[in-house]
Symmetry: C2
Subunit: 515 residues, 2 copies
Amino acid sequence: MNGAESLVRTLLNGDVNVCFANPGTSEMHFVAALDRVEGVRCILGLFEGVVTGAADGYYRLAGKPAATLLHLAPGLGNGLANLHNAKKARSGIVNIVGEHAGYHIQYDAPLTADIEGVARPMSDWVKTSHSSKTIAADGALAIQVARTAPGQIATLILPADTAWGDADGPAEVAAPALRAAVAADALAKGVRALKNGKATTLLLGGAALRGKALEWAGRIAAKTGCGVLSEFNNARIERGAGRAQVRQLSFVVERSLEMLKDTRELVMIGAKLPVSFFAYPGKPSVLVPKGCEVISVAAAEVDLEGTLEALADELGARNTAPLVNAPGYDGALPTGDITLEKLGAFFNAAIPENAIVLDEAVTSGRAFSGATMGARPHDWLNIMGGSIGWGLAAAVGAAIAAPDRKVIALEGDGSALYTQQALWTMARENLDVTIVIFANRAYKILLGELNNVGAGAPGRNANDMLTLDRPDLDWVTIAKGYGVEAGRATTLDELAVQFKRGLAAPGPYLVELIM
Amino acid sequence: MNGAESLVRTLLNGDVNVCFANPGTSEMHFVAALDRVEGVRCILGLFEGVVTGAADGYYRLAGKPAATLLHLAPGLGNGLANLHNAKKARSGIVNIVGEHAGYHIQYDAPLTADIEGVARPMSDWVKTSHSSKTIAADGALAIQVARTAPGQIATLILPADTAWGDADGPAEVAAPALRAAVAADALAKGVRALKNGKATTLLLGGAALRGKALEWAGRIAAKTGCGVLSEFNNARIERGAGRAQVRQLSFVVERSLEMLKDTRELVMIGAKLPVSFFAYPGKPSVLVPKGCEVISVAAAEVDLEGTLEALADELGARNTAPLVNAPGYDGALPTGDITLEKLGAFFNAAIPENAIVLDEAVTSGRAFSGATMGARPHDWLNIMGGSIGWGLAAAVGAAIAAPDRKVIALEGDGSALYTQQALWTMARENLDVTIVIFANRAYKILLGELNNVGAGAPGRNANDMLTLDRPDLDWVTIAKGYGVEAGRATTLDELAVQFKRGLAAPGPYLVELIM
């Protein structure tokens, strides 16, 4: 058995059985080992941003890491933006990055570069495994790191001679560690805040937005009258009718300030201090009002379900009916011309039961979150690191992780273009993904931001850099070039027809919505 | 005047008047300054790999740096692979990377990450400019670094508050330093080697492959009978009928070994020690035969034209007629089914006078270099860092730098897909680029490499990761989606029609050649 095979068998020992891949020459022994050993599903991405974004989407649904297979420093570089998004989402990923044989590096061949240097900014852990005898143990360590709650980016660098040299066999992988319990004093502070009658808001993040944890939060809200917010972006939130009411903070500074202005105590469970996405001249970075006490009860890596259950118990809310969203999906579909308000109402009515919605709609999508709280129960996934080009790639991973669920990707046109190669993977794997492209033919968010930062109205150069017209991108045609069926909608009535067609198709379908 | 404007005016002082850009919120003041100050041509790339690849292609033709404008660490990450290619090409680029306002970084907003860390592996120089008063001077320094022969990657990080704060004005930019003269002892060693009667080969790299330098090499070869080789890849080589005969080393280890096997003295002018692209079990990394003396007369940053002229003088070759390629373009175009041999003959006859050819044809293109030495005089540009996704992007930059010349991009399908967003920029800017996609619907090079590394024949997983079929990419349709006219060829006769149509079109045209 060579090093590569010992690593593949170690991945299987650690229940890592999906590999999103874009290999090169230095990874060929690993590719051959994936042939010899049964059990790893290999999915090709035609660009590394697809590979790493898919691994992020996969983790958010599967709750366990996939492996990626990447080719040297530049291949890793191509995957870096979506590793950034995954790291901010606290997703677990085991990156396997091929490297030249150790003895070859000194010759500075064309593809030689500092892989560890490229990996470090977007990884929680980086290691080069210099021997075929140690790669299995290093692989086991990488899996353990990736599985550390809530999830971490582990990058294992695999020199070609480590892959092709002799190994002793695979390594055992330690079971994932249990999440730490909430600290008693932090819990007590949270209880006090929720009992003392001051205006208090729960700010939930990470695993607090799902399952039982979310339900406990709903009971606490019903019992105490506290507000319940989530961060502006969330890796995965279970929402819709019958689920606990959670309002999302806004990208727009003024709106978040408004949402928080009456709060005297902010109780954070798995969330971070709310800050603005960007800095703007004359606007605050921190969105918490003056005089508001901030109480971090539990960080993202803590047992958040246990934390909320304990809070509920202390507050006598164990048997309180949770405050939940009322169904809002029964109205007729809105018709006629497209407006953002009507689009929100459309998705509120049209999201199917148990769907997975990936939201990279950027400007067009800002109102969707608030408008779809009463939709049929579904999961909603945000881009967490703000680096566009995430949605289509993550949809690949979500669909691989949850093959029986409808996946819906809401995409800005500028964002979708970054990793549009994901369409091909969707076609090859016949993934059940319905994509809606909001084609406003601009980096519309930036036309607003130019004004927000006080830089004035766009002139010729700014306009050239912030618009996607001249020529207009034709998304229906691009999709067909990748083997994905597609249709165009210019009204809500056409959107209804197209969206239905997408959901009915067993494979991918793209709707270009002209804004 | 704010910091952003002082930087734009400094760029103009340094003759940097093209900016390939993909900006975000943190760059909005810089974008606004590009509006206010006349003189910088801004070209939008819909993905950062297009931006950095274009800057590489631009430098190779213009001989001076362009600026890039990139958005925070992930935007830089997306451009990293083509910065790697540019760094290996020794191209000069001034990267301007936006950063959060300094006071905002502590809050770890979604897009916060270690920009310097991402930049360092693919940059020769990295600096964060912390004040609006210093950004002009830092910009001048960045230009100076980028212009250091043969060219360097300078990455200047521009925090938003540095851009929007008050500045004193632009900075002066020092004139580019002259290249160092060749060292006398190194020159003497080279002369001795070329005079002593042993089998000697000149290995040329960088600027030695162009203009007068190349001509001197041709005279030396005619006078001494030495061989003349170039490295396997070259940033830019002037070739074709009437130009000095230079054979390129091969990607295939065995072929390079064969080309060098009789050489007893290898005289390197602007070139590096020839090594294999990858390491293969049982094959050497260094391609120079045992007992061959390696003499590095001048590194890439030295005055190579002066070096070769001095060599020619010492050898009495000043007035010797150079050994040049005979015209080979007069034959009839080959017809019928497509073979690699016939394709070589086709391009030998079809490359128009003064064309710029970008070669990222990978497997299909290996024979083209040797087959087209007798074509009409042209420039030939190789991908220098081996990170695919270079050709279409670099073609954008080459066409901007040389608007009066025909640009021809020879592209593997796997490679072209990495930065196919470049098609849109070609359409918007109406760039005169003819693209030929060699559609073998596989990472065909890797199917060969699997065997080369001794990993055996591909099984199911390997085949899934090394082929681009199921579904086939439809390049004609994809191109049309980006607003680029396109046609398909399945025979050499069809290729002749399509290639002619491409050359006749004033804007971009794509030919999908089914292999």
